[in-house]
């Protein structure tokens, strides 16, 4: 029997949920509002009513090239996601369907790399990138973004694959499917929702990554995160322009997130409910 929920409780919970959502969304909302203020309004204290000027957007794009970092962001997030999936799918596959006594340790070790502060390896990585000529190149940054997100991708796919019953794979084996037949006709179609949500999340993570993208690039391969950062210097802070740049940088990923929220929620909660 469904639990009866009183109307008052429903109202309270709805208000609470909206408040939390608004609180979480507020920084983004305020950035968007600030981006349509004049610089004067932007520094004159808290206000939710802008004068709706689009000057900042025009200026941001005339001062700096928006499309080059935009293209870099698209290329880097898509490419690093693709490479991560190519590596992670077989890895998660092997760990989910033919685990060894060491599988859990390997998974934990991979996750532990995410617990380390990135700045701890900044110097060695910077020096390696310099020696290998990877600084400010898309190749170098793709490699970096792939590596930092790989543990999460492997973990997500592993959790997802574990939900696929092993008997189905055995049935395919009995039915004469080769290893590739098994992967192509049975496993991949069944895993597509999981792979899709992993892909979406990884694109967002790669798009938003700012520690390495700012430090390992200057102009050529700098993505939108570096584009935003460039407005905090050298002429001092221009809040309205900075907000316009930020809005331009997050808009594409926000739109993508809006349209794929169903897959994303599934991706973030799978394993939690059967």
């Amino acid at each position: 029997m469904a639990r009866a929920v009183s109307t008052r409780r429903k109202v309270v919970f709805t208000i609470l949920a909206w408040s939390v959502a608004l609180l979480l969304f507020f920084p983004i909302l305020y950035t968007v509002i600030t981006s349509v203020k004049t610089e004067g309004e932007a520094i004159s204290g808290f206000s939710l009513i802008p004068s709706f000027t689009f000057e900042n957007y025009v200026e941001v794009q005339t001062q700096r090239d928006y499309w080059r970092p935009f293209t870099n962001s698209v290329v880097l997030s898509l490419l690093s996601t693709f490479v991560a999936l190519v590596i992670a799918v077989p890895a998660a596959w092997a760990m989910a369907f033919s685990p060894t006594p060491r599988t859990k340790d390997i998974l934990m070790w991979m996750l532990s790399t995410k617990m380390m502060p990135a700045v701890a390896v900044l110097v060695p990585i910077y020096l390696l990138f310099r020696d290998w000529g990877l600084l400010d190149t898309r190749t170098g940054l793709t490699f970096m973004l792939t590596m930092i997100n790989l543990p999460i991708v492997v973990w997500m796919l592993y959790t997802y694959f574990r939900e696929i019953p092993g008997e189905i794979l055995e049935a395919a084996r009995m039915d004469g499917a080769t290893l590739w037949g098994e992967i192509a006709y049975v496993l991949t179609p069944m895993a597509i929702p999981g792979i899709a949500s992993t892909m979406l999340l990884n694109i967002i993570l790669a798009w938003n990554e700012s520690f390495w993208t700012i430090r390992l690039t200057t102009t050529n391969s700098a993505p939108l995160t570096a584009f935003i950062a460039s407005f905090s210097s050298p002429q001092g802070l221009f809040w309205a322009k900075l907000s316009a740049a930020s809005t331009l940088a997050i808009a594409p990923i926000l739109i993508m997130g809006w349209f794929s929220q169903k897959q994303l929620v599934r991706g973030l909660t799978f394993g939690a409910v059967k």
Partner: protein, 333 residues
């Protein structure tokens, strides 16, 4: 053809021995049931035959050909799993067609075979549906259909009916038996349910802790159990067992008597007891009698019996039907 021979088949998982070494002969066209309590190794044995597990040592041959190291698909066997293991993203048609597609069969031939299997299994109207839209019984039939189209040399069933409700289990049991008669192909069927074993098998293999306790026809096992384990496992309700003075009287360490071989009287008999619970099944009544010096015994009485809880009864075993066992639990013949 589907003659399967196991010689000294052994399976260990790490330090644990699951199958210590089994010899078994399965004739072509036979319906063989592996039965035993959970954890006895029956499913492992089936998976060894299927090739889903590697044997640690020993040899498995099919029609005289050594298949011990061969991949599952090369063995020419088909398997029906407990969870059905259907491909959820494919229609019923594609599920049944899958093994043929994997074998690279011609499209027209696939179509004919799938439709034929669907007709045999009453699935014609469901071919376009997904497994998720079918009932448990229909899903199990799809799984059987997928096995049939391969025309395997033997069918392997791993507890295929345990996910179904009691009524459907009865129907499916009948359907599988009919299918066996129609196709005449070797079938190996794993179950923990001795009723399934008794009703379906040509030959029952009783397993315990990875060892074969006895191999024989259902009636053979019922009437001549080789040891106490088989005596207690085969038959429902279970065989009554008595030890001590009651058994010594018949020259054995333990005696066993089935509920239908106890003569019931209200006047006189060998053993005296009090009726506890009376289970009325309609055609029969099973009386649970607390027998003095022996303990609980089950007796089969007519459906219309007037005996009630607390009545004193006298029981006499039919001596020709008495099973005698020695100290080690082996049958004394």
């Amino acid at each position: 053809m589907g003659r399967i021979t196991l010689s000294k088949v052994n399976k260990t998982f790490g330090a644990t021995t699951v199958i210590p070494g089994i010899d078994l002969e399965i004739e072509n066209g036979e319906f063989v049931v592996f039965v035993g309590p959970s954890g006895c190794g029956k499913s492992t044995l089936l998976r060894l035959i299927a090739g889903l597990e590697d044997t640690s040592s020993g040899k498995i041959s099919i029609d005289g050909r050594d298949v011990t190291g061969e991949a599952p698909a090369k063995r020419g066997l088909a398997m029906v799993f407990q969870s059905y293991a259907l491909y959820p993203h494919m229609s019923v048609y594609n599920n049944i067609a899958f093994p043929l597609k994997m074998a690279g069969t011609d499209k027209a031939v696939i179509d004919a075979k799938v439709r034929d299997a669907a007709r045999i299994l009453n699935l014609t109207n469901y071919l376009e549906r997904r497994p998720g839209q079918l009932s448990g019984g229909q899903r199990q039939r799809v799984a059987i259909g997928r096995a049939i189209v391969r025309a395997p040399s033997a069918f392997l069933f791993d507890e295929p009916l345990s996910n179904l409700d009691a009524a459907l289990r009865g129907t499916m049991r009948l359907e599988i038996s009919e299918l066996h008669q129609k196709l005449g192909t070797t079938m190996i069927y794993v179950t923990h349910d001795q009723v399934e074993a008794m009703t379906m098998a040509d030959k029952i293999v009783v397993l315990q802790a990875g060892n074969i306790e006895q191999v024989g026809s259902p009636m053979d096992l019922y009437n001549r159990p080789a040891n106490l384990f088989v005596a207690g496992f085969i038959g429902s309700p279970r065989m009554n067992l008595a030890t001590g003075a009651a058994a010594e009287r018949y020259g054995a360490h333990t005696v066993g008597i089935r509920p239908e071989h106890l003569k019931l009287s209200t006047a006189e008999g060998v053993w005296t007891g009090t009726v506890g619970v009376a289970e009325h099944l309609g055609s029969d009544t099973f009386l649970h009698v607390d027998v003095k010096d022996i303990g609980a015994m089950t007796v089969r009485a007519p459906g219309e019996t007037a005996l009630r809880h607390g009545d004193t009864v006298y029981l006499t075993p039919e001596e020709s039907r008495l099973h005698r066992f020695d100290k080690s639990g082996l049958a004394v013949r």
